[in-house]
C-alpha cells in the first residue's frame, strides 16, 4: 500500500508524461545527460524537502496564506541547492545558470505541495516526493539521452564514454529548441501508441 505512493510517481502518474508538469527545466537543460542528472538531483532534493516540511507544518498554516507559505518553504530549499551547487559543483552550476533558481516555479514541486503534501501524513509525503522526483529524473534523463546521442553522435557522462562516436554528421537541430519539442512529442506519441495497443488487446 505505502509502496504505491513511491511507484505511482515513477510510472503510472509520471509527473512529466502523465501530469504534464515541469516542462520548462525538462526542455531547457536536457541538452546533455550530465546537466539532466544534476538538475534532477536538485529537483529531487527540493521536492522531498518541501513535501516533508509542508506536511509537518500543514496544520499550523492558515488557508488564506497557504500559497505564500508554500512558496517560502520551496524557495528556501532551492536557495540551499543553489548555494551548495555553486560551492561544490561550480561547473554544473554555471551550465545550469538561471534554471537553478527557477526550480522554485517548477510546477511539479508546487503541485505536489498543494495537491498531496498539504493533505497527507509525513511518511506518505516523503515517499510521494521521492517517487515524483525519480519520475522526473527518468523523463529528463531519457529526453537528454535521445538529444545527446542524436546531436553529438556519442554519449559521455561525467567524462566516461558510454557510446563512442558513431557518426561524423550528427543532427545538430536536436540540440536546439526545436529538437527538444520534437523529442518530447515523439516520446508522448509512443506512450499513447502503447496505451491504445494495450486497450485493443483487452
Amino acid at each position: 500500500m505505502k509502496l504505491d505512493e513511491l511507484t505511482k510517481g515513477v510510472f503510472k502518474y509520471n509527473p512529466v508524461f502523465y501530469l504534464v508538469l515541469g516542462l520548462c527545466p525538462l526542455l531547457a537543460v536536457s541538452t546533455r545527460v550530465d546537466n539532466a542528472l544534476g538538475m534532477s538531483l536538485g529537483v529531487l532534493f527540493v521536492l522531498v524537502g518541501s513535501n516533508v516540511i509542508i506536511s509537518v507544518i500543514k496544520q499550523w498554516i492558515p488557508p488564506e496564506v497557504r500559497i505564500p507559505c508554500f512558496i517560502v518553504v520551496i524557495a528556501s530549499f532551492v536557495t540551499i541547492v543553489d548555494l551548495f551547487m555553486h560551492g561544490y559543483a561550480p561547473e554544473l552550476h554555471a551550465r545550469l545558470g538561471i534554471y537553478v533558481p527557477l526550480i522554485v516555479v517548477n510546477c511539479i514541486i508546487f503541485a505536489r505541495a498543494e495537491a498531496f503534501a498539504s493533505k497527507n501524513p509525513v511518511s506518505h509525503s516523503l515517499l510521494d516526493g521521492i517517487g515524483m522526483g525519480i519520475g522526473f529524473m527518468f523523463a529528463i534523463v531519457g529526453i537528454a539521452s535521445v538529444r545527446e546521442v542524436l546531436s553529438t553522435g556519442k554519449m559521455t557522462i561525467f567524462g566516461y564514454t558510454l557510446i563512442p562516436q558513431f557518426t561524423q554528421s550528427p543532427a545538430m537541430v536536436m540540440l536546439l529548441p526545436p529538437g527538444a519539442f520534437l523529442t518530447i512529442a515523439s516520446i508522448m506519441a509512443l506512450i499513447n501508441y502503447k496505451k491504445t495497443m494495450k486497450k485493443e488487446k483487452e
Binding site: 520548462c24 531547457a28 505564500p68 528556501s76 545558470g97 533558481p101 519539442f181 508522448m188
Partner: protein
C-alpha cells in the same frame, strides 16, 4: 545606457521566452487551445511581467545589495511576485468586476509561471538598469503573448485536421511548437 530597442527585439523575437528559453511552457500548452483565452492570458502576463520587473529591480538594488543578502533573491522575488499578483487580483475583483471575469482566472496561474520569475532573473543576469528591466519585462511579455497567439491559432486549426491517432492532443502541439521554434531561429541573425 542599455540599448532599449535591442533589448525589446531580443526579448520578443531572438530570445523568445517560450520558444528559446523554455520559460512559461505550462501556460503555453495549457491555455493555447482557444485564441480568446490565449489573448486574455497574454495581456495578464504582459502586465505582471512589466510590474514584476519594475518592483524587483529596486528591491534587489536598494534592499538586497546594500545588506549583502543577494542569496535571498529567489525567496524575495517569488514572494514579491506572489504578493503582487494577489493584490492585483483583489483590486481588480473589487473595482473592475467585468475585467475580473475575463482576466481573473488567469492571475493565480501567473504566480507559478516561470516566465515571470525568469524575466526578473534575466534582468539581473544582464545587469539592466531600471528602465532596461521594465522594457525587458514588457517585451518578454509581448514575446510570450505572440508565441501563445500563434500557437492557439495553429491549435484551433489542428482541431479540424486529420492527425494520426497517437499524436492527437499534446504530441501534435509539441510538434507544432518545434516548427514554430524552428521558424523563430531565423531571427537569431538580427543585429542592432
Amino acid at each position: 545606457m542599455d540599448n532599449l530597442l535591442a533589448i525589446a527585439v531580443g526579448s520578443i523575437f531572438v530570445h523568445n521566452f517560450v520558444l528559446f528559453r523554455f520559460l512559461g511552457l505550462c501556460p503555453f500548452f495549457g491555455v493555447s487551445k482557444k485564441t480568446s483565452s490565449a489573448l486574455g492570458m497574454g495581456v495578464a502576463v504582459v502586465f505582471v511581467m512589466t510590474c514584476a520587473s519594475a518592483i524587483t529591480w529596486p528591491v534587489y538594488t536598494y534592499l538586497l545589495l546594500p545588506y549583502e543578502i543577494e542569496f535571498m533573491r529567489t525567496v524575495t522575488f517569488i514572494l514579491v511576485i506572489a504578493a503582487f499578483v494577489q493584490l492585483v487580483e483583489m483590486v481588480i475583483r473589487k473595482h473592475q468586476p467585468s475585467l475580473y471575469k475575463s482576466l481573473g482566472i488567469y492571475l493565480p496561474l501567473i504566480t507559478t509561471n516561470c516566465a515571470v520569475l525568469g524575466v526578473t532573473l534575466v534582468n539581473l543576469e544582464q545587469r539592466y538598469s531600471l528602465i532596461g528591466s521594465v522594457v525587458d519585462g514588457f517585451s518578454a511579455g509581448i514575446g510570450f503573448t505572440l508565441a501563445l497567439l500563434l500557437m492557439s491559432g495553429i491549435r484551433e486549426r489542428l482541431e479540424l485536421a486529420h492527425v494520426p491517432h497517437s499524436f492527437k492532443g499534446l504530441p501534435i502541439a509539441f510538434i507544432s511548437a518545434a516548427l514554430l521554434a524552428l521558424a523563430f531561429m531565423a531571427f537569431t541573425g538580427i543585429r542592432l
